[in-house]
């Protein structure tokens, strides 16, 4: 449990640090938008394969903190994270986990997260959103998060805490 917590905490703070300081390094923040917290909750699921409730508690708390620290939205990401957690738990039971399936899983979840968020904003018409905007955001957040996700996957794979799924 401690190991999973460490992954989530590091990813959580890296999210904030990189979104503030990546622009110093590459001059455009939007080119590589980090969503490391979401990536980490995807990667750690197999460690909770037999303790689904613990996983959802961790995901819910992470989503709540994510809202507090980074978005100023009330419980929105808590619900989105839980939804992602539910989908990830269902998908993990269907797929054989390897570096390729991990790649597709990461892509799917990032696309899903942006789509749900955009759909909500579109429904309430608070911010004018076009499909172009959504595609732009998706395409610009894939590279960095996939790299991070694959690195995390490899770290988890070769650590003494072996994955319990598959």
């Amino acid at each position: 449990m401690i190991f999973q917590l460490i992954i989530v905490i590091i990813s959580f703070f890296l999210d904030g640090i990189l979104s503030n300081f990546l622009s110093y390094m590459i001059s455009d923040l939007s080119l590589f938008t980090p969503y490391f917290t979401i990536v980490s909750i995807i990667i750690i699921y197999p460690f909770f394969a037999k303790k689904n409730n613990h996983y959802f508690i961790l995901v819910g708390v992470t989503g709540f903190l994510y809202d507090l620290f980074y978005t100023n939205l009330l419980f929105t990401n808590t619900i989105f994270f839980l939804l992602i957690g539910l989908i990830v738990s269902a998908l993990y039971k269907k797929i054989q986990l390897n570096i390729i399936t991990n790649f597709f899983l990461l892509v799917f979840v990032i696309v899903l997260y942006h789509s749900i968020f955009a759909l909500s904003l579109f429904i309430f018409n608070v911010v004018p959103i076009t499909i172009d905007n959504v595609l732009y955001l998706i395409s610009h957040s894939l590279i960095l998060n996939i790299i991070y996700g694959e690195i995390l996957y490899l770290i988890c794979k070769y650590l003494p805490h072996k994955r319990q799924l598959n």
Partner: protein, 265 residues
């Protein structure tokens, strides 16, 4: 049979979750929502933690931006004698909306809003430093936004690039024939230009004309620099123009801001 009902229950839970998230999001996004005491407490705690986490990185960048930490907008433009003169004129004319009538509070950006399309920033100063809702935030490059929410130790700044329907700024364009006012109403991400709509098509505006806040509406003080006109487009009926204004500020790269606080008398 049992499996089927379990599956059905799962689907119902997911649907309820989606419905709840929409409801909560609608409530969260309303700009007039006031922070509750509990929320303020959690936000303050989050701001203090984030400030600690960011400390090594902000100190690394402190040298890079050392000139930005000073209250430059006022000092840059006014010498002591002029300032005295303006103060006297202000007293005589009973003016409140001039730039010299403000104290400045310098603050560090601790987080960028991760959702809501990067249109807000959180700074490490709040009510304890005298900040209030709707105070104006600037950098050395000009106006960046206004304070939207304040807690004891942090504040949230809404950037002028927000495409929010409530985010309008009254601006003044200095043309060769005089001044004209219009509304800053949006931001074009592709061209990185701030958009000004509703400019009378008869007004002669050229590229390079300077855009500042007009002071109308009472929200922003008059004379804060925004940028220079880069593109001019007429609408299809020829009645009004939409201007693209180039700002010197990179909105992806803001680390220090100055908040203008009305002088205490």
């Amino acid at each position: 049979m049992y499996k089927k009902s379990k599956k059905r229950r799962k689907i119902i839970i997911i649907l309820i979750v989606i419905f709840c998230s929409f409801f909560v999001l609608f409530y969260s996004l309303s700009s007039n929502r006031k922070l509750t005491l509990v929320e303020s407490f959690f936000k303050d705690t989050a701001a203090i933690i984030m400030k600690g986490v960011m400390l090594p990185f902000t100190s690394l960048n402190a040298n890079k931006d050392s000139d930005l930490t000073e209250s430059y907008v006022i000092q840059k433009n006014l010498n002591v004698h002029l300032e005295e003169e303006i103060e006297q004129l202000r007293d005589v004319l009973d003016l409140n909306q001039t730039l010299t009538g403000y104290d400045v509070v310098n603050a560090t950006v601790i987080t960028r809003n991760r959702g809501y399309w990067y249109q807000t920033l959180t700074i490490d100063k709040g009510k304890k430093d005298g900040l209030k809702k709707n105070m104006v935030a600037i950098t050395k490059n000009g106006l960046i936004g206004k304070i939207q929410k304040v807690t004891n130790y942090s504040s949230e700044i809404k950037l002028i690039t927000a495409n929010d329907v409530n985010n309008k700024v009254s601006v003044s364009i200095a043309t060769t024939t005089g001044e004209t006012t219009a509304i800053l109403s949006g931001y074009d991400k592709d061209s990185n230009l701030v958009l000004i709509s509703g400019v009378d098509s008869r007004v002669n505006i050229k590229e390079g004309d300077v855009v500042t806040t007009s002071g109308l509406g009472g929200m922003f003080p008059r004379g804060i620099y925004i940028g220079e006109v880069k593109t001019i487009k007429n609408d299809k009926y020829g009645l009004s123009k939409t201007l693209g204004v180039e700002t010197s500020q990179n909105f992806n790269n803001i680390h220090y801001v100055t908040v203008l606080k009305e002088e205490e008398k």
